[in-house]
Symmetry: C2
Subunit: 434 residues, 2 copies
Amino acid sequence: LKNRDKEQFRELFLDLHRTNQMDIFIQLNQQLRSQLYSMVSGNEFADVFEGLDLAKQKQVIQELDERYIAAIFNTISTDEIADFLAELDPSEANKILNTIDNKRAIVIRELLSYPIETAGGIMAKEFVAVKATDKVSEVIDNLRFSAPNAETIYYLYVLDTEACLVGVLSLRDLIIAPAFETIEHIMSTDVISVTTEMDQEDVAKIMQKYDFLAMPVVTKKNVLTGIITIDDVMDIMEDEMSEDFDEFIGAKGGTDLNISSFEAAKKRAPWIVLLAFTGLLTGGIIDFFEAALEEVVLLAVFIPLIMDSAGNAGTQSLAVIVRAMATGSSEKKSIWQTIKREFGTGLILGVIVAIVLLILVPIVYGSFILALIVAASLFITLSFSTIFGGLVPIVINKLKLDPAIASGPFITTVNDVLGLFVYFTIASTFISYL
Amino acid sequence: LKNRDKEQFRELFLDLHRTNQMDIFIQLNQQLRSQLYSMVSGNEFADVFEGLDLAKQKQVIQELDERYIAAIFNTISTDEIADFLAELDPSEANKILNTIDNKRAIVIRELLSYPIETAGGIMAKEFVAVKATDKVSEVIDNLRFSAPNAETIYYLYVLDTEACLVGVLSLRDLIIAPAFETIEHIMSTDVISVTTEMDQEDVAKIMQKYDFLAMPVVTKKNVLTGIITIDDVMDIMEDEMSEDFDEFIGAKGGTDLNISSFEAAKKRAPWIVLLAFTGLLTGGIIDFFEAALEEVVLLAVFIPLIMDSAGNAGTQSLAVIVRAMATGSSEKKSIWQTIKREFGTGLILGVIVAIVLLILVPIVYGSFILALIVAASLFITLSFSTIFGGLVPIVINKLKLDPAIASGPFITTVNDVLGLFVYFTIASTFISYL
């Protein structure tokens, strides 16, 4: 980055896609960063700033003077600013808000007033609104001026005199239509919208169902107040899936890559302790059958086999049912059919594993009776662990809890208890033959 | 649906969003379905047909005559037809191909020639191409005619005389630009494209990274051959995440809701049998320490506690590392930092659980020495199970295998063996004090 090449670098840099600009920017050290700031204006840098993660954004703010910051924040979209300010101290947020144009600051304060993770918290205010009586040619002409600041121009929302949402049309509809047509003849009145308080996960599901690129957000009185665009929704989908997965393994919030050991331990400890407890309870089954175990210590060797198989089969069934409940196919009938299917699967898996054990156990441990006991226990355990795997999420759901919460470890415990109980009951009944 | 209300119903139905039309259609029985076919034309029904799932589409095809089918298939987009035909018998597919316009049939045959799950297999052929020397006003005028058939008109791709992709502009850029400007002055030359053979998961990642609504697909010679739109990518993202999750719990393909018990068992059996094997191996550890166990049978009671805790802590660390590797943050340095973080977390979790056990075990089983043995074992096991949880996916990755494949059950087994070995080693060392 020699001095004379500045202009050339500037040209090259600005012609890059903003994601590529960002990739370059995060490689730079402080000295090169300040060189870059001097080469591109605040407005031009705004695009890069918008794409950075929170930690980097905070760092950049520290490095810039007030005028440059103001230029950035008067360029990037208000919803991005609101997301950023929500993460700062109120005093710092206010200091930045004061550098922003008054009109934009009011919009940002409104966005900050909605709870995060709701439609209101993720929406943008910059939509394109038209009147039903507008002519196609007028609307296209006006777009030239409204387009640069709008979050998307690919949907136009039709409002009545009370700002209520009465229709929608895509830019494609507009382009195809004859120039003299009025909007009301080409708009669709079957408008799908969400209200400000809807959970962001539900918003994402609706947008995916309808294949929308953007979704209007309305107040309870159907007044259009913002839009949510597909790029935000894709990020939400990914976050929510990670979250569900973390809950499934009982580590909500504890698998974040950017937190310290101590914070991660704090978040995971309740589950790990609870699961240690349930492990002790499972051990109670073994304690209960101590007499049988005392007689034939070899029985203990098969405890891991029983526990692992029961846990794995149960987790698989659980995953199937949780998915059936999460997707639209969660009518009662289909869930019961799925459980029946899982039971059938468990029976077949049980037969297969039983046969394998009837061959293996006599070879390794020299006892066909022991093999029979282990095989019979595993057959029963596998058949029923699939049913428990299916029933647990249904029960949790009936209790109005989220079926994904740590149901993985929970079902493993339930099936461990089932498996060990079956195993030791059969073993102590036939112990005289061993 | 009385006869005289037909026209009114038709009006109402056609004004609905196609997803809502579909929701209504799937509720209908055969008689009502054939009434609907008679009320709307093949072209009008095409939108509904496109949204149906494969089984329903096959059913519908059985119910319709050839002319109606031809009308449908001459309306819906060629990539949807290719996806549908790929699922039929070749002879049936050919029969339908013969009812389709020759030009469209050629395009569909080309799409069918690409492997599914690649960019070529999911792309659409209907893109809008312009020349660098075109004027903005001409392009807007031409859009009126090309828009109805294009998959998206929100990106325009600029081709040179060899049909190579040299630039891209959004419809927004076009709308904002002065009418007399030429395309080459407003297009961006930093074009991000994918080749036909790229895996669909990688395509989805790139589209999400750049926040694209559509992505150009080029041949090796950079000739534009198709586009992939965001709605297809969202579905892919969801499928791929479910797939990763299934692999994580060792049930790839076996959690599909629509297959029979027998098919599900066939897909899951290899894993369940393999895991039963590993369960037997884990039992070998117990067999190895049989002497100690024979002396103090009570030791067996803590086997589930050790196994569950080791498994859970390991799975959580595993999930963290797999995610670190999946996201861009997978530089070596950050992975090692993450493992260090996980080890720290394991140490803290170990201390917490050890303290809980030192209080609980003496109360329930009346032995402080036993509590010390169990607590010490669990402290060591939890600390190291987080490290194993981190190392296993890295090793699997080094072996060029997918780190998500069944690593959940695998890490559980590794940590079970670790935990039981530590536990019985400590227990048999201090057994004289019990």
